[in-house]
């Protein structure tokens, strides 16, 4: 069994920050010669982090994306965009999760939106207790937000007077006009992007160099600091060992399914909200239940209030949403009263034609948001000439939008078939229903103000909540009030040197895209560990 000093499971926004910061710190020799290893379940689409990663030759854009029907390739791409462990279609009502995979984790699929979470998100209270540990406030995180923004090259988009790559697109101006007509206002978003590089499309020909994904910043720094990367490593369980922890799983590189076991002194779990929780759920018995002293593991999972709809605007309004960045603006006008944001975004037409937001649905009760309130409109079918002609408006007039909101953590992660993490959505709370209902009403009003129509979504039809921003499952709490799975530093309450440092530890919905906050929280934890402030320092931990 190989031994490393620090093992990090996952290379998304939590894992990448820890790899860069701890890697750089240990590379100085502050704690002697130390070995840091990142284990990533997916592939290395850049070809820079793991020479043994699958994926074939790099193309002219420096990645391994191709249009081909090769089944092995299609499997890899599908898994990059839809993590099988994070994508659940089981259970009813269910929760579908879009999750990134591969070196860079969620940054492989994010749109670069980098908003700081508002003060009110950190101050949420449930059962008369603050959901976040006391050390986390917006003001306390602001310095770490600033660090992450620098690392990710976050820029605020502009309506006018900026370089072309920093201008909002036609879609945004159409959206802004719709907002204006209903008395609201759109503003340019902050995006992690730099210079004149194209975002392009997602799964069909996307240029992955188009935005600041983690391979271009944090992970590049980690690599430069000597951090090792192993891809294709699917972690099944963790357990205590003589020197710390042992990680067991399967190395899938080269098409093999070779079992592996790696021992480490410090272990950081950062495999994403669903996968991290799954690892702890599978391992809890081996820890005698000490991973979950408050019996909250897998509980209170948030979908971050994600609720997407699609539709078309009226003739004469050129959205051309397939051009430019997939998201560049948002409407914050409803936050103060209703706690949701609206964001217009690009969606693959294939997904719209076949996926959850089937275009033929109409609400029986336009004001209602809940399940079982839709019907097929006039027998309209999702196939045939009429449907095809409806899709022909997509290129110019398709406008997808969604809300991000405060929800009540109604999701749950449990172990399903083959011990796979299964994500479920319990009954939506009255407050979340009301918030979504208001958001849907506003979005419908925007479409109608633009002379178009809104099509409905999977939640109305099937009760399926779809989210790209799962949060929680291993929620953090303060040591003084340990109603969580890990403490304010992400450390297990009963297992020293075992940490969860990704979206799984985030204790509530944020109402904004969470990548910046996940990274800022990880920065703050890394800072305390490196300096030994508020917790035992990393050098002391490795020495003991």
């Amino acid at each position: 069994m190989s031994l490393v000093d620090v093992a990090i499971v996952g290379s998304g926004f939590g894992g990448a920050v820890m790899a860069a910061r701890l890697g750089a710190h240990l590379a100085t020799g502050a704690a002697g010669a130390r070995r840091v290893l990142v284990l990533e379940r997916g592939d290395d689409h850049t070809g820079r982090f793991d020479a043994r990663s699958d994926g074939g030759p790099l193309n002219a854009q420096g990645n391994r994306f191709r249009h081909t029907l090769d089944p092995a390739y299609l499997t890899r791409v599908a898994e990059l965009f839809t993590d099988r462990e994070a994508a659940s279609h089981g259970g009813a009502p269910s929760m579908n999760v879009i999750a990134g995979r591969g070196v860079g984790g969620g940054s492989n699929v994010y749109c670069g939106v980098s908003l700081r979470a508002p003060t009110t998100s950190f101050e949420q209270v449930r059962d008369a207790r603050r959901l976040w540990p006391a050390i986390y406030t917006r003001a306390a995180l602001d310095p770490y937000y600033a660090i992450v923004e620098r690392e990710l090259s976050v820029h605020r988009m502009q309506w006018t007077g900026a370089p072309h790559w920093q201008l909002a697109g036609k879609r945004d101006l159409v959206f802004a006009e719709g907002c204006r007509r209903i008395g609201a206002t759109a503003a340019p978003l902050k995006l992690a992007c730099d210079a004149d590089r194209n975002e392009g499309w997602w799964s069909s020909g996307q240029r992955f160099a188009g935005r600041s994904d983690l391979t271009t910043n944090y992970l590049a720094k980690a690599l430069a600091a000597g951090v090792e990367f192993r891809t294709g490593h699917d972690v099944a369980t963790i357990a205590r060992s003589g020197r710390g922890y042992v990680i067991e799983g399967v190395d899938g590189r080269g098409g093999a399914r070779a079992p592996f076991a790696i021992e480490c002194k410090l272990l950081f779990i950062a495999a994403g909200a669903v996968a991290s929780t799954g690892i702890l759920l599978r391992s809890n018995d081996a820890f005698g239940g000490s991973l979950d002293p408050a019996r909250l593991l897998g509980k209170e999972v948030s979908a971050n209030g994600d609720y997407g709809v699609t539709g078309s605007v009226g003739p004469g309004l050129a959205v051309e949403g397939f051009k430019g960045k997939p998201m560049s603006s948002f409407c914050p006008s409803f936050w103060r009263e209703h706690r949701f944001l609206l964001i217009p975004f690009y969606t693959e037409p294939l997904w719209l034609a076949l996926g959850q937001p089937a275009a033929a649905l109409r609400a029986k009760d336009p004001a209602a948001t809940g399940r079982a309130v839709t019907e097929e409109a006039g027998g309209e079918r999702a196939w045939g000439l009429v449907y095809k002609q409806r899709l022909r408006t997509f290129g110019e007039r398709m406008l997808t939008m969604g809300c991000l909101a405060i929800d009540d953590g109604e999701g749950e992660i449990v172990l399903g078939r083959n011990d796979r993490a299964d994500v479920r959505w319990r009954e939506t709370s009255r407050e979340t229903e009301a918030r979504w209902s208001t958001a849907v009403t506003k979005m419908r009003a925007i479409y109608e103000a633009l002379g178009g129509e809104m099509y409905l979504d999977g939640y109305r039809r099937h009760g399926t909540v779809s989210t790209a921003h799962p949060l929680g499952g291993c929620r953090m709490a303060s040591r003084a009030d340990p109603r969580g799975v890990v403490d304010e530093n992400g450390e297990s309450f009963a297992n020293e040197n075992l940490f969860v440092v990704d979206g799984a530890a985030i204790p509530s919905a944020l109402g904004t895209n969470p990548s910046l906050t996940i990274a800022a929280v990880a920065e703050s934890i890394a800072d305390r560990l490196v300096r030994g402030v508020g917790t035992k320092g990393i050098a002391a931990r490795l020495a003991s």
Binding site: N59, Q61, F65, R66, H67, L69, P71, T75, A78, E79, R84, A87, H89, G90, L115, R116, P118, T119, R156, T160, G161, H164, L167, A168, G169, K170, L173, A176, G183, T185, A187, K190, N198, E199, G200, W201, S203, S204, G205, Q206, E320, F322, K323, G324, K325, P332, W335, R336, E348, P349, L350, W351, A353, L354, A382, W383, G384, K388, R392, E396
Partner: protein
Amino acid sequence: MTRPWRVTTSERPTLSRRAALSALAAAPLALAACTDRAGDAPDAPAPPDPDLPPPIPRADRDAFDALCNLLLPTEPDAEGAGAIEARADEILRVDTFVPLAVAQGLLPSLPDAFVRTVERAGPDLRAALNVTLDALASSERPLARFVDLPAALKEAIVARAFDDAAQAPAFLVVRAACFTAWLGATTNDLGLRAVGFPPFEDWDDRLACSGYPRTDPKTGEVDDYTYDRAPPPTPDDDLTLVLDANGDLP
């Protein structure tokens, strides 16, 4: 840029170059036949339009093609390519297509036994679908083949199949294959162009369109996606009360 449907002849095992060229010569008539509107065809064949995809030769048509043409029909215009031209048949040759489509939310969860049957069928899936469709046709009109039924009857059969729990999975798979081929740009970009997307910048390198300014090689015009202008202010909605100077919610 290379037009994908012109250069992918070698990628199409079922369509020889000779057949494609010969079909191209008869494009208008064959296209009309593909849409079951042979009676509407012009009296004299017009010269082949280079912007039209090569049609599938009549001899290649079977119940499967007819089903594809119902689900996502070919229309007789420059952007009228449907499932057949987008090569839905090639999608069905990918033996992992069904589980991939389920994983991506493009298909609902299907019974395990059905998925295994599809995977086992492999290249025989098309033949199995032909048998199924002809059986459904025969139940309507004894001994009739599906391709020979009037369009309205074909449509009624397919509509009923989607509502039949036993038949629906197979029809959902074909529907998913049709749209995946058409909008997924797996073999060509005809479907994306049909819904208004620009052609791929470079099909050979599989580069989709760039959102950044570029000069159209035909017109010389700059293709831009921004307006570089600010929206007019909204009365009584002051964002300075909502956003801080950094552009965040405070």
